[in-house]
Amino acid sequence: MAEQAAGAASSRRLQFALLASVFVVAACGLAYELIAGALASYLLGDSVTQFSTVIGAYLFAMGVGSWLSKFVERDLIGRFVQIELAVGLLGGFTAAGLFVAFAAHAGPFRVLLYGAVFAVGVLVGLEIPLVMRILKRDVAFNELVARVLSFDYLGALAVSILFPLLLAPHLGLVRTGFLFGLLNAAVALWALWLFRDRLARRTGLLAAGLSSVAVLAGGFAGAGQLTTMAEGWIYADDIIHAENTPYQRIVVTRWRDDVRLFLNQNLQFSSKDEYRYHEALVHPGLAGMAHARRVLVLGGGDGFAVREILKYPNIEAVTLVDLDPAMTRLFSSASLLRQLNGDALNSPKLKVVNADAVRWLEDHADAFDFIVADFPDPSSYSIGKLYSAPFYRLLTRHLAPHGRLVVQATSPFYARQSFWTVVATLEDAGLKTAPYHALVPSFGEWGYILAGREAYASPETYTVPLRFLTAQTTAAMFDFPADMARVDAEVNRLNNQVLVRTFESEWRHVVR
């Protein structure tokens, strides 16, 4: 009697321990899925697609795992320990591995992503059926299903609450991955101890378990350095200035004599070839306007466009409207950057206004001979509005009678439909357009559009010192080769925002 009671008690303890491990196993399973989804959203954008496809692939893989579990016939406990260790290692390193792979451009990222998700899913799918079969000997089936599944769901619940509130914001994705890897390894070690009497090859498993823990703990400790290193690869060069403003993240890098500016990780210029971009932006429009006195620059807080504009002695006043005071402060104070923009932001002819361009245009009545609209590419709905017909009508109200405006309009090669959408939109606003393009090695083939109430003729000569443009080559820039030639495009209206949608789909094919 006494022996039986003792046996029952130990069996109950064992059951409890196994159910606790079900809780942890389920928690880890959901965590890997959330980490993969969040990482894919972070790196690739479009989180609905990323989450849906990651969840789908993961659930499917779990199904595959469950099905495969029937082929595990002997030594259930040993297999369970092995699977736990494999899940821990694979799941634990998924976030770190994917992040590094993305940064290092190692292999097709999506293949790696879904490969990892699938592998982890299969292993997680194997876990629960195995636990159920281990417990089957001691517990009635209906009781077994009820208990195992309720612990399974409870574990998932715990993580689904902890992940967004605590883990992702405080630990970060990479470190969270290692943490759950460690939990899986701990479950394996615990199982080893619980079943120490029933296992044959204990020593090997124990060694594997301890080394997994060591590797994962090392990963956990080094996650910070790993992230910095991978970000370093994304930027490639030394970061000489980094700043988070209410509007964007400003990063300036330098490698030998190449200075680069990144806003929200998008390259804005490389000092190697920015003169090509800015000469092409300003001079084809302004060179022939001897009557021009007043110029307005929207965006362009780096001061390069202003540097080009100030080359003309007839220009008396330049107004620069840039949203972010941190940008204009940086480019008017840092000596390296002041050298690059010829100290344009400190010119007495310049007035800097840190305001929202649209608000400022609505609140002021000033008219300008030349307006430069150098906004970021239309990658969001709020920026897309700055490329819409009503916005161009607003700009037109600020054009002097013979005035002209120029718009940077993304790449007619990589985003051909987008470029011609901007042309169609300017025309819808009642302007005559003159689209042109120039090669800026850092960006590729880049597009600009001149627009005004009058037809445009390219300048016969340039009177100011230039490194890139000549009158002859300028005339050729208005020709579009067949692969960039005009396509039919819908007008970008506020209620359809076709430009943002088009732009996103076109660039998605360019950037992996």
Binding site: S47, D356, R493
Partner: protein, 540 residues
């Protein structure tokens, strides 16, 4: 996907719970709404005698969309001799609006769908206001791009993620999606359906619909019954149709008449040259932009804070006695014709001589109360995972209807502070009970509930909300339950009461802008005919 839904809702509950427990100080704000004391003063009936009689050819009582549309129609005919008296301190009725340093915002109705082919007066009104360009009756007119809702128009928070559009897609099984398609096909059939005389089965204004029993019979059953009878059992489809009914009628599918529910999906046939057919017209102040423009025109003839407590008529004139709050006295208005553009249930209380048939008609039907809260935010709410912030943002598992963003139509490079307008129709309990709850619950309780509801999708909402103003509509919308819209008892309302003409959406049985406008314009045309002013009709 059951497991995931379960987890998502558990997480949501937990997060909502945290929001409550944390006990961050509530943002300040006001509890406002219709002036109850002024309105309920009617119950006391101890008014002084008039100290002055003012004569005016036409008197309009009520300055909601019905009253303003009547005034608009009179002026279109060159007739300017009218006075508008309004109970509340500001005009606009359900389309009132507010304004603060950040933005104007709606206190009620927040959009107008592209007007149907039959909404001729609405089209002419929009053309008059410059919102519709070219021929107002063209199949596809152009609309002012500043008013057409900017993209993205709407999104839905479901299973912890935002998706584009309001038809639930995330985690919805293929069989349910098949029902979506079948449902939309049925609605398209109803949209095209006409009777032998060429009248549409479901027109807007509803009065222009066919009177054939095969369609009117649908007013005898509930929308849920119709869905079941027709093999629609998808829970997500039911959710969507229920949402639509709560949003437009203040009643869910368990109570809304099937005629009304189908009308919602089948009546709209408006198109635009420069927008998709499902576009809507909106402004920071919702439909308040129309109120603002019309109210300016009639400001010299409008008196607010005017409580009508006695309406009568004899062979020479109609009369209305008002307690004028600003003058603090009682004045009698005598008019040749009177347009009653206030809710109809008030009429039996103030018109002792109202014939029994009209008393019964005015009392048929009750009203759903609404709560509209405006949250002033220091910054745009975080977009959250999934589809980016839209104009209309709906939460799947919410008793409320979601929120619209007042600054959505603003063209700005950087998102700044904003105002979110949060809507809650009390559709889950009897209207009287809901009204009592609405009136007896302090603002702080609503504020806590609203922040917890929104906190499920925007965890930071408590921190970024600087003000939370609650606006109560006690009798917001007539409830189109079965037997309301086409009941024989309510038909006398359309004919009016001799010199008194009814210009309120209550007459139609559905509280829609187009119905209020139709009733207002129709009443004005009846008035003009009585005054022997030569008029055509704006109603087609």
């Amino acid at each position: 996907m059951k497991r995931r839904d379960f987890l998502a809702s558990c997480a949501a509950l937990a997060v909502a719970g945290c929001g409550e427990v944390k006990g961050a100080p509530l943002p300040p704000g006001e509890l406002a709404g219709g002036n109850l004391e002024r309105g309920h003063r009617l119950r006391e009936k101890n008014f002084a005698r008039p100290t002055e009689v003012r004569r005016v050819p036409v008197l309009i009582v009520g300055a909601g969309i019905g009253g303003l549309s009547a005034a608009w129609r009179l002026e279109r005919a060159g007739f300017r001799d009218f006075a508008i008296l309004e109970l509340e301190s500001s005009v606009g009725g359900n389309s009132r609006y507010g304004e603060n340093a950040v933005s104007a915002y709606p206190l009620g109705a927040h959009y107008l769908p592209l007007p149907t082919r039959e909404s001729r007066a609405v089209r002419e009104l929009l053309a008059d206001l410059g919102a519709l360009q070219g021929d107002p009756h063209a199949a596809r007119p152009s609309y002012d791009e500043r008013l057409l809702c900017h993209a993205p128009q709407e999104r839905l928070h479901i299973s912890g993620l935002w998706q584009d559009g309001l038809w639930p897609r995330l985690g919805v099984a293929a069989a349910e999606r098949d029902q979506y398609v079948r449902f939309q096909e049925r609605m398209a059939e109803f949209r095209e359906a006409r009777d032998g005389q060429g009248r549409r089965a479901f027109a807007l204004p509803a009065a222009l619909s066919s009177n054939e029993p095969r369609w009117r019979e649908l007013d005898r059953i509930t929308m849920r019954q119709w869905l079941r009878d027709n093999g629609f059992d998808s829970p997500h489809l039911h959710w969507y149709v229920n949402y639509a009914c709560r949003d437009d009628f203040g009643v869910g599918i368990g109570e809304a008449s099937a005629w009304a529910g189908i009308h919602y999906f089948a009546c709209r046939n408006g198109e635009a040259a420069n927008a998709a057919a499902d576009s809507v017209l909106t402004a920071p102040e919702g439909n308040g932009w129309i109120v603002k423009r019309l109210a300016q025109r009639y400001a010299d003839r409008t008196i607010t804070g005017a409580l009508a407590f006695h309406i009568g008529q004899n062979r020479r004139a109609a009369s209305a006695d008002f307690l004028l709050e600003h003058e603090n006295r009682v004045v009698r208005y005598e008019a040749e014709q009177l347009v009653w553009a206030a809710p109809l249930f008030v009429l039996p209380h103030v018109a002792p001589e109202l014939p029994a048939s009209l008393v019964a008609a005015a009392r048929a039907g009750d009203h759903a109360p609404w709560l509209v809260a405006n949250l002033t935010l220091a910054e745009m709410p975080s977009s959250g995972a999934g589809a980016p912030l839209a104009w209309d943002n709906v939460l799947y598992d919410s008793p409320a209807l979601g929120y619209v963003v007042a600054t959505h139509q603003r063209i700005a490079a950087a998102p700044g502070p904003t105002v979110l307008t949060y809507y809650h129709a009390f559709s889950a309990e009897p209207p009287k009970q809901a009204r009592e709850r609405l009136l007896n619950t302090p603002r702080e309780t609503w504020a806590r509930q609203i922040l917890a509801d929104l906190g499920r999708a925007h965890p930071e909402i408590g921190q970024v909300t600087q003000r939370l103003d609650v606006f109560r509509h006690g009798h917001a919308m007539i409830r189109p339950v079965p037997g309301t819209i086409w009941s024989a008892a309510r038909q006398p309302l359309a004919r009016g009461w001799e010199r008194v003409h009814f210009a309120h959406a209550d007459v139609s049985g559905m509280s829609l802008f187009e119905e209020a406008n139709y009733r207002g314009v129709r009443a004005a045309e009846q008035v003009l005919r009585r005054l022997a002013v030569r008029v055509g009709t704006a109603l087609g």
